[in-house]
């Protein structure tokens, strides 16, 4: 073996050029990876916000459109700061005509719940009455929760306004994504 004749290895210069190119490529690949992760997260957040907005509007549309009475007093528009739109709404259930009950949509944090309520007086628990009924002493009825279910998530704000035509504006946010959607509903039985 003649070690001094070995010319097969890499020179320092070659190694440095190789490492530089390799690091540059790794940097590009890493930045693409980071971009794709960010893009994935924003896409997922937006998809979830849009999906929840759609679910919320569909559920509300179904209940308000069929309802025979809107128990919540709503402002005519959302422009009067002295009469702002409420964040919850109670409507009479229009799908079960045999049963006098109400559907309440309310926010719990960023979750929207759909609660089914029945009203009755203390001494007559089997007789269902209107939400605004009064007994002979002028007392309001008590309410019983029949069901209480989560309908939508990631809701920052939900507003209801309008008299015959009820407008719902939902603001959702997940991560850095904010999605605002709206629709109007005409109650066919109001």
């Amino acid at each position: 073996m003649q070690y001094h004749k070995n010319t097969n290895g890499f020179t320092l210069f070659e190694v440095m050029v190789g490492i530089t190119i390799g690091v540059m490529l790794l940097g590009v690949v890493l930045s693409i990876y980071t971009l794709s992760v960010k893009s994935l997260s924003s896409t997922q957040n937006r998809a979830e916000a849009v999906q929840n907005g759609r679910i919320v509007l569909e559920r509300l549309t179904r209940d308000i459109r069929q309802s025979r009475d809107i128990a919540t007093i709503l402002p005519p528009d959302d422009t009067n700061p002295l009469n702002p739109p409420p964040n919850e709404i109670i409507v009479q259930d229009g799908h079960n005509t045999q049963l006098l009950q109400y559907v309440r949509y309310y926010l719990n944090g960023t979750d929207l719940y759909r609660q089914v309520l029945q009203y009755h007086f203390v001494d007559e628990p089997t007789v269902l009455v209107n939400y605004d009924a009064e007994d002979e002493f002028g007392n309001p009825p008590i309410s019983t929760t029949i069901s209480d279910q989560l309908v939508g998530q990631y809701i920052d704000d939900i507003d209801y306004y309008g008299v015959d035509l009820i407008t719902v504006v939902v603001t959702l946010s997940k991560g850095s994504v904010t999605h605002v959607t709206t629709t109007s509903i005409f109650g066919r039985n109001l």
């Binding site: 690949v29 893009s39 407008t167």
Partner: protein, 144 residues
């Protein structure tokens, strides 16, 4: 062991080859990068399409409050802002509502036989340039 002398290494990768392969890789990665703006655009367009269909539905509900005779044939509004407030997220959604009389074959007609077609078109500006995006909802109403 003497044969080692003759094996002069000529099988390595030359600079030209490295440059070519890096260029090919760079072109490929660049092509990959183009996918992200398109992905974001598609996602935004889907969000706007969802909003637009609810805005169109809101207009149909508004017309549902009117009777058959109150809905007059013609263009009810053309390119109206879905919300006239410039701060509103719905300001850039433009709405055109037209009402047409229909005959018994459900084609456009000039005489009123008790059929009307309402179409609501919502347009909104695209996210990354290109053509206006459009969604349309159509319904028919009859005289009762």
């Amino acid at each position: 062991m003497d044969t080692r002398k003759h094996t002069i290494n000529t099988k390595g990768i030359g600079l030209i080859e490295v440059v070519i392969s890096v260029t090919v890789l760079a072109v490929g990665l660049f092509g990959l990068l183009q996918a992200f703006p398109h992905g974001v655009q598609a996602e935004k367009d889907i969000e706007f399409a969802s909003i637009a269909s609810y805005l169109a539905q809101a207009k149909l509900e508004e017309l549902a409050t009117l009777s058959y005779d109150e809905i007059t044939p013609g263009t009810l509004e053309s390119g109206a802002h879905a919300n006239s407030n410039t701060d509103s997220p719905f300001y850039n959604f433009l709405r055109t509502t037209t009402v047409e009389l229909l005959d018994e074959n459900l084609t456009a007609s000039v005489t009123d036989i008790g059929f009307k077609k309402i179409s609501v078109v919502i347009t909104w500006p695209p996210v990354l340039g290109g053509e206006q995006q459009t969604t349309e909802l159509v319904t028919m109403i009859s005289k009762r």
